[in-house]
Symmetry: C2
Subunit: 146 residues, 2 copies
DNA sequence: TTTGAATAGTTGCATAACTAACTATATGCC
DNA sequence: GGCATATAGTTAGTTATGCAACTATTCAAA
Protein backbone atom coordinates (compact mmCIF):
# COMPACT_ATOMS: atom_id res chain seq x y z
CA UNK A 1 0.00 0.00 0.00
CA UNK A 2 1.56 3.26 -1.14
CA UNK A 3 2.15 5.82 1.58
CA UNK A 4 -0.19 8.28 -0.06
CA UNK A 5 -3.16 5.92 0.06
CA UNK A 6 -6.25 7.81 1.16
CA UNK A 7 -8.22 6.40 4.00
CA UNK A 8 -11.77 5.70 2.99
CA UNK A 9 -13.31 7.97 5.57
CA UNK A 10 -11.57 10.95 4.06
CA UNK A 11 -12.41 10.38 0.44
CA UNK A 12 -15.57 12.29 0.24
CA UNK A 13 -14.67 15.73 1.45
CA UNK A 14 -11.59 15.73 -0.69
CA UNK A 15 -13.58 14.86 -3.77
CA UNK A 16 -16.33 17.38 -3.25
CA UNK A 17 -14.02 20.19 -2.31
CA UNK A 18 -16.19 21.32 0.56
CA UNK A 19 -13.71 24.03 1.53
CA UNK A 20 -13.64 25.85 -1.78
CA UNK A 21 -17.40 25.40 -2.07
CA UNK A 22 -17.78 27.06 1.32
CA UNK A 23 -15.61 30.00 0.23
CA UNK A 24 -17.62 30.42 -2.96
CA UNK A 25 -20.92 30.34 -1.09
CA UNK A 26 -19.74 32.90 1.43
CA UNK A 27 -18.55 35.23 -1.29
CA UNK A 28 -21.86 34.82 -3.10
CA UNK A 29 -23.67 35.76 0.09
CA UNK A 30 -21.45 38.84 0.53
CA UNK A 31 -22.22 39.92 -3.02
CA UNK A 32 -25.93 39.59 -2.39
CA UNK A 33 -25.77 41.56 0.85
CA UNK A 34 -23.95 44.34 -0.98
CA UNK A 35 -26.68 44.34 -3.63
CA UNK A 36 -24.41 42.90 -6.31
CA UNK A 37 -26.59 40.62 -8.37
CA UNK A 38 -24.10 38.34 -10.08
CA UNK A 39 -23.22 34.73 -9.46
CA UNK A 40 -19.78 33.55 -8.41
CA UNK A 41 -19.41 31.82 -11.74
CA UNK A 42 -20.18 35.02 -13.62
CA UNK A 43 -17.77 36.88 -11.35
CA UNK A 44 -15.03 34.36 -12.10
CA UNK A 45 -15.38 35.09 -15.83
CA UNK A 46 -15.20 38.83 -15.20
CA UNK A 47 -12.14 38.17 -13.03
CA UNK A 48 -10.19 36.88 -16.03
CA UNK A 49 -11.38 39.76 -18.19
CA UNK A 50 -10.23 42.27 -15.59
CA UNK A 51 -6.79 40.72 -15.88
CA UNK A 52 -6.99 40.85 -19.66
CA UNK A 53 -9.88 42.31 -21.59
CA UNK A 54 -10.95 40.97 -24.97
CA UNK A 55 -10.23 37.26 -24.43
CA UNK A 56 -11.80 34.74 -26.77
CA UNK A 57 -14.31 32.29 -25.36
CA UNK A 58 -11.78 29.53 -25.90
CA UNK A 59 -9.21 31.37 -23.77
CA UNK A 60 -11.84 31.86 -21.09
CA UNK A 61 -12.44 28.09 -21.15
CA UNK A 62 -8.77 27.36 -20.47
CA UNK A 63 -8.31 30.00 -17.82
CA UNK A 64 -11.46 29.19 -15.91
CA UNK A 65 -11.20 25.38 -16.25
CA UNK A 66 -14.60 25.20 -17.91
CA UNK A 67 -15.84 23.56 -21.09
CA UNK A 68 -17.18 25.42 -24.10
CA UNK A 69 -20.91 25.12 -23.41
CA UNK A 70 -20.40 26.47 -19.90
CA UNK A 71 -18.60 29.52 -21.19
CA UNK A 72 -21.18 30.04 -23.94
CA UNK A 73 -23.93 30.29 -21.34
CA UNK A 74 -22.00 32.31 -18.82
CA UNK A 75 -21.21 34.83 -21.54
CA UNK A 76 -24.87 34.69 -22.64
CA UNK A 77 -25.99 35.59 -19.13
CA UNK A 78 -23.30 38.24 -18.68
CA UNK A 79 -24.39 39.78 -21.97
CA UNK A 80 -28.00 39.87 -20.80
CA UNK A 81 -26.80 41.72 -17.70
CA UNK A 82 -24.90 44.09 -19.99
CA UNK A 83 -21.63 43.26 -18.26
CA UNK A 84 -19.81 41.98 -21.35
CA UNK A 85 -20.11 42.29 -25.11
CA UNK A 86 -19.22 39.71 -27.77
CA UNK A 87 -17.22 41.14 -30.67
CA UNK A 88 -16.42 38.87 -33.65
CA UNK A 89 -12.71 38.79 -34.40
CA UNK A 90 -11.71 40.43 -37.66
CA UNK A 91 -8.86 37.99 -38.21
CA UNK A 92 -10.87 34.81 -37.68
CA UNK A 93 -14.60 34.89 -38.00
CA UNK A 94 -15.01 31.76 -35.88
CA UNK A 95 -13.79 33.64 -32.84
CA UNK A 96 -15.77 35.83 -30.44
CA UNK A 97 -13.74 38.26 -28.39
CA UNK A 98 -15.37 39.10 -25.08
CA UNK A 99 -15.09 42.67 -23.84
CA UNK A 100 -15.96 44.33 -20.55
CA UNK A 101 -18.54 47.13 -20.47
CA UNK A 102 -18.36 50.28 -18.38
CA UNK A 103 -20.70 48.65 -15.85
CA UNK A 104 -18.44 45.67 -15.29
CA UNK A 105 -15.30 47.80 -15.09
CA UNK A 106 -16.94 49.58 -12.19
CA UNK A 107 -17.57 46.29 -10.42
CA UNK A 108 -13.92 45.34 -10.29
CA UNK A 109 -12.57 47.10 -7.22
CA UNK A 110 -15.62 46.62 -5.04
CA UNK A 111 -15.87 42.90 -5.70
CA UNK A 112 -12.14 42.22 -5.61
CA UNK A 113 -12.00 43.82 -2.18
CA UNK A 114 -14.86 41.64 -1.09
CA UNK A 115 -13.18 38.53 -2.47
CA UNK A 116 -9.89 39.28 -0.77
CA UNK A 117 -11.67 39.97 2.47
CA UNK A 118 -13.63 36.72 2.23
CA UNK A 119 -10.47 34.75 1.55
CA UNK A 120 -8.66 36.35 4.46
CA UNK A 121 -11.57 35.40 6.67
CA UNK A 122 -11.46 31.87 5.30
CA UNK A 123 -7.71 31.61 5.85
CA UNK A 124 -7.69 33.11 9.32
CA UNK A 125 -5.17 31.24 11.46
CA UNK A 126 -3.51 29.50 8.53
CA UNK A 127 0.16 30.34 8.03
CA UNK A 128 1.31 31.53 4.63
CA UNK A 129 3.69 28.59 4.30
CA UNK A 130 0.77 26.21 4.85
CA UNK A 131 -1.22 28.10 2.24
CA UNK A 132 1.64 27.76 -0.22
CA UNK A 133 1.95 24.05 0.46
CA UNK A 134 -1.77 23.56 0.10
CA UNK A 135 -1.90 25.41 -3.20
CA UNK A 136 1.05 23.36 -4.47
CA UNK A 137 -0.73 20.11 -3.59
CA UNK A 138 -3.95 21.20 -5.32
CA UNK A 139 -2.04 22.26 -8.41
CA UNK A 140 -0.21 18.92 -8.44
CA UNK A 141 -3.51 17.06 -8.19
CA UNK A 142 -4.89 19.05 -11.05
CA UNK A 143 -1.81 18.43 -13.19
CA UNK A 144 -1.81 14.71 -12.37
CA UNK A 145 -5.25 14.33 -13.88
CA UNK A 146 -4.77 16.55 -16.90
CA UNK B 1 -1.33 43.41 5.11
CA UNK B 2 -1.66 40.12 6.96
CA UNK B 3 0.83 37.45 6.03
CA UNK B 4 -1.89 35.15 4.83
CA UNK B 5 -3.20 37.59 2.26
CA UNK B 6 -3.99 35.84 -1.01
CA UNK B 7 -2.47 37.27 -4.12
CA UNK B 8 -5.07 38.16 -6.70
CA UNK B 9 -3.75 35.86 -9.35
CA UNK B 10 -4.39 32.90 -7.13
CA UNK B 11 -7.89 33.67 -6.02
CA UNK B 12 -9.77 31.95 -8.71
CA UNK B 13 -8.52 28.41 -8.53
CA UNK B 14 -8.95 28.37 -4.79
CA UNK B 15 -12.51 29.57 -5.00
CA UNK B 16 -13.58 27.21 -7.74
CA UNK B 17 -11.82 24.20 -6.30
CA UNK B 18 -10.45 23.13 -9.64
CA UNK B 19 -8.46 20.27 -8.08
CA UNK B 20 -11.37 18.57 -6.40
CA UNK B 21 -13.50 19.18 -9.47
CA UNK B 22 -10.88 17.43 -11.55
CA UNK B 23 -10.87 14.42 -9.22
CA UNK B 24 -14.64 14.19 -9.34
CA UNK B 25 -14.73 14.43 -13.13
CA UNK B 26 -12.09 11.74 -13.50
CA UNK B 27 -13.94 9.39 -11.18
CA UNK B 28 -17.16 10.06 -13.08
CA UNK B 29 -15.41 9.13 -16.31
CA UNK B 30 -14.05 5.94 -14.75
CA UNK B 31 -17.54 4.98 -13.62
CA UNK B 32 -18.88 5.50 -17.10
CA UNK B 33 -16.13 3.44 -18.70
CA UNK B 34 -16.93 0.61 -16.32
CA UNK B 35 -20.59 0.85 -17.29
CA UNK B 36 -21.66 2.21 -13.90
CA UNK B 37 -24.44 4.68 -14.60
CA UNK B 38 -24.49 6.85 -11.49
CA UNK B 39 -23.30 10.39 -10.94
CA UNK B 40 -20.56 11.33 -8.50
CA UNK B 41 -23.11 13.12 -6.38
CA UNK B 42 -25.31 10.02 -6.19
CA UNK B 43 -22.23 7.97 -5.38
CA UNK B 44 -21.31 10.32 -2.56
CA UNK B 45 -24.69 9.74 -0.95
CA UNK B 46 -24.29 5.97 -1.26
CA UNK B 47 -20.83 6.37 0.25
CA UNK B 48 -22.29 7.62 3.52
CA UNK B 49 -24.92 4.90 3.52
CA UNK B 50 -22.25 2.25 3.05
CA UNK B 51 -20.62 3.57 6.20
CA UNK B 52 -23.96 3.57 7.99
CA UNK B 53 -27.20 2.36 6.48
CA UNK B 54 -30.55 3.87 7.39
CA UNK B 55 -29.49 7.50 7.86
CA UNK B 56 -32.14 10.20 7.85
CA UNK B 57 -32.10 12.77 5.06
CA UNK B 58 -31.08 15.36 7.62
CA UNK B 59 -28.05 13.30 8.62
CA UNK B 60 -27.15 12.91 4.95
CA UNK B 61 -27.27 16.69 4.64
CA UNK B 62 -24.76 17.16 7.43
CA UNK B 63 -22.42 14.42 6.36
CA UNK B 64 -22.37 15.38 2.70
CA UNK B 65 -22.30 19.18 3.24
CA UNK B 66 -25.47 19.63 1.19
CA UNK B 67 -28.73 21.45 1.84
CA UNK B 68 -32.09 19.76 2.23
CA UNK B 69 -33.43 20.27 -1.28
CA UNK B 70 -30.25 18.77 -2.76
CA UNK B 71 -30.60 15.64 -0.64
CA UNK B 72 -34.32 15.39 -1.41
CA UNK B 73 -33.56 15.29 -5.12
CA UNK B 74 -30.53 13.03 -4.91
CA UNK B 75 -32.59 10.55 -2.91
CA UNK B 76 -35.42 10.95 -5.45
CA UNK B 77 -33.07 10.00 -8.27
CA UNK B 78 -31.43 7.18 -6.31
CA UNK B 79 -34.88 5.82 -5.58
CA UNK B 80 -35.79 5.90 -9.29
CA UNK B 81 -32.62 3.89 -9.95
CA UNK B 82 -33.72 1.47 -7.23
CA UNK B 83 -30.50 2.05 -5.30
CA UNK B 84 -32.12 3.31 -2.10
CA UNK B 85 -35.50 3.14 -0.38
CA UNK B 86 -37.17 5.74 1.86
CA UNK B 87 -38.67 4.28 5.03
CA UNK B 88 -40.65 6.60 7.34
CA UNK B 89 -39.36 6.49 10.91
CA UNK B 90 -41.72 4.92 13.41
CA UNK B 91 -40.54 7.20 16.22
CA UNK B 92 -40.92 10.48 14.37
CA UNK B 93 -43.17 10.67 11.37
CA UNK B 94 -41.36 13.72 9.97
CA UNK B 95 -38.27 11.63 9.35
CA UNK B 96 -37.40 9.48 6.33
CA UNK B 97 -34.74 6.86 6.90
CA UNK B 98 -32.83 6.01 3.74
CA UNK B 99 -31.84 2.39 3.20
CA UNK B 100 -29.58 0.70 0.66
CA UNK B 101 -31.02 -1.94 -1.68
CA UNK B 102 -29.32 -5.15 -2.74
CA UNK B 103 -28.28 -3.45 -5.99
CA UNK B 104 -26.45 -0.64 -4.25
CA UNK B 105 -24.78 -2.98 -1.75
CA UNK B 106 -23.25 -4.74 -4.74
CA UNK B 107 -21.87 -1.46 -6.05
CA UNK B 108 -19.80 -0.75 -2.96
CA UNK B 109 -16.58 -2.67 -3.48
CA UNK B 110 -16.25 -2.07 -7.21
CA UNK B 111 -16.74 1.67 -6.93
CA UNK B 112 -14.70 2.12 -3.76
CA UNK B 113 -11.78 0.42 -5.47
CA UNK B 114 -12.20 2.76 -8.39
CA UNK B 115 -12.37 5.80 -6.11
CA UNK B 116 -9.26 4.80 -4.19
CA UNK B 117 -7.42 4.15 -7.42
CA UNK B 118 -8.46 7.53 -8.83
CA UNK B 119 -7.35 9.31 -5.68
CA UNK B 120 -4.01 7.55 -5.70
CA UNK B 121 -3.54 8.62 -9.28
CA UNK B 122 -4.46 12.19 -8.34
CA UNK B 123 -2.08 12.19 -5.40
CA UNK B 124 0.84 10.62 -7.21
CA UNK B 125 4.05 12.29 -6.10
CA UNK B 126 2.45 14.01 -3.11
CA UNK B 127 3.86 12.94 0.26
CA UNK B 128 1.48 11.79 2.95
CA UNK B 129 2.58 14.59 5.26
CA UNK B 130 1.69 17.11 2.56
CA UNK B 131 -1.68 15.45 2.14
CA UNK B 132 -2.29 15.70 5.87
CA UNK B 133 -1.31 19.36 5.91
CA UNK B 134 -3.53 20.07 2.94
CA UNK B 135 -6.51 18.35 4.49
CA UNK B 136 -5.95 20.27 7.73
CA UNK B 137 -5.92 23.58 5.85
CA UNK B 138 -9.11 22.75 3.96
CA UNK B 139 -10.84 21.69 7.17
CA UNK B 140 -9.74 24.92 8.86
CA UNK B 141 -11.11 26.95 5.95
CA UNK B 142 -14.39 25.12 6.17
CA UNK B 143 -14.60 25.67 9.93
CA UNK B 144 -13.69 29.34 9.60
CA UNK B 145 -16.74 29.97 7.44
CA UNK B 146 -19.20 27.82 9.35
C1' DT C 1 -54.49 21.91 26.33
C1' DT C 2 -53.67 24.88 23.09
C1' DT C 3 -50.76 27.80 20.64
C1' DG C 4 -46.30 29.12 18.76
C1' DA C 5 -41.70 27.79 17.59
C1' DA C 6 -38.58 24.38 15.83
C1' DT C 7 -37.56 20.52 12.86
C1' DA C 8 -37.92 17.25 8.59
C1' DG C 9 -38.86 17.17 4.24
C1' DT C 10 -40.79 18.91 -0.50
C1' DT C 11 -41.59 22.04 -4.41
C1' DG C 12 -40.70 25.89 -7.69
C1' DC C 13 -37.58 28.83 -9.93
C1' DA C 14 -33.10 30.32 -11.73
C1' DT C 15 -28.33 29.19 -12.73
C1' DA C 16 -24.70 26.09 -13.85
C1' DA C 17 -22.36 21.64 -15.12
C1' DC C 18 -21.33 17.59 -18.48
C1' DT C 19 -22.07 15.02 -22.72
C1' DA C 20 -23.10 14.62 -27.36
C1' DA C 21 -24.35 16.37 -31.55
C1' DC C 22 -24.53 20.21 -34.33
C1' DT C 23 -23.01 24.69 -37.58
C1' DA C 24 -19.61 27.66 -39.40
C1' DT C 25 -15.08 28.95 -40.49
C1' DA C 26 -10.20 28.04 -41.25
C1' DT C 27 -6.26 25.18 -42.63
C1' DG C 28 -3.61 21.99 -45.12
C1' DC C 29 -2.72 18.51 -48.35
C1' DC C 30 -3.69 16.33 -53.02
C1' DG D 1 -9.30 24.58 -56.60
C1' DG D 2 -11.40 21.00 -53.73
C1' DC D 3 -11.92 17.95 -50.02
C1' DA D 4 -10.67 16.21 -45.33
C1' DT D 5 -9.71 17.70 -40.89
C1' DA D 6 -9.31 20.75 -37.07
C1' DT D 7 -11.04 24.60 -34.42
C1' DA D 8 -14.63 28.07 -32.36
C1' DG D 9 -18.81 28.34 -30.82
C1' DT D 10 -23.96 26.88 -30.11
C1' DT D 11 -27.88 23.90 -28.87
C1' DA D 12 -30.39 20.12 -26.52
C1' DG D 13 -31.07 17.07 -22.72
C1' DT D 14 -30.17 15.47 -18.02
C1' DT D 15 -28.52 16.31 -13.43
C1' DA D 16 -27.21 19.18 -9.60
C1' DT D 17 -27.09 23.50 -6.70
C1' DG D 18 -28.94 27.60 -4.02
C1' DC D 19 -32.71 30.14 -2.29
C1' DA D 20 -37.31 30.96 -0.79
C1' DA D 21 -41.62 29.45 0.31
C1' DC D 22 -44.37 25.76 1.56
C1' DT D 23 -46.57 21.35 4.40
C1' DA D 24 -46.50 18.21 8.13
C1' DT D 25 -45.10 16.78 12.51
C1' DT D 26 -43.11 17.43 17.05
C1' DC D 27 -42.02 19.96 21.20
C1' DA D 28 -42.43 23.26 24.79
C1' DA D 29 -44.28 26.89 27.39
C1' DA D 30 -48.26 29.64 28.88
Amino acid sequence: MPNNQFKRGELYSFITGMASTAVARRLQKNFKQAGIEITIEQWSVLYHLWKQDGLSQQELCKQSFRDKPSITRLVDNLEKLKLVKRVPSKDDRRINLVYLTEDSKKLQYETMDMANQTLNEALDGVSSSDIEMCKAVLQKVYDNLK
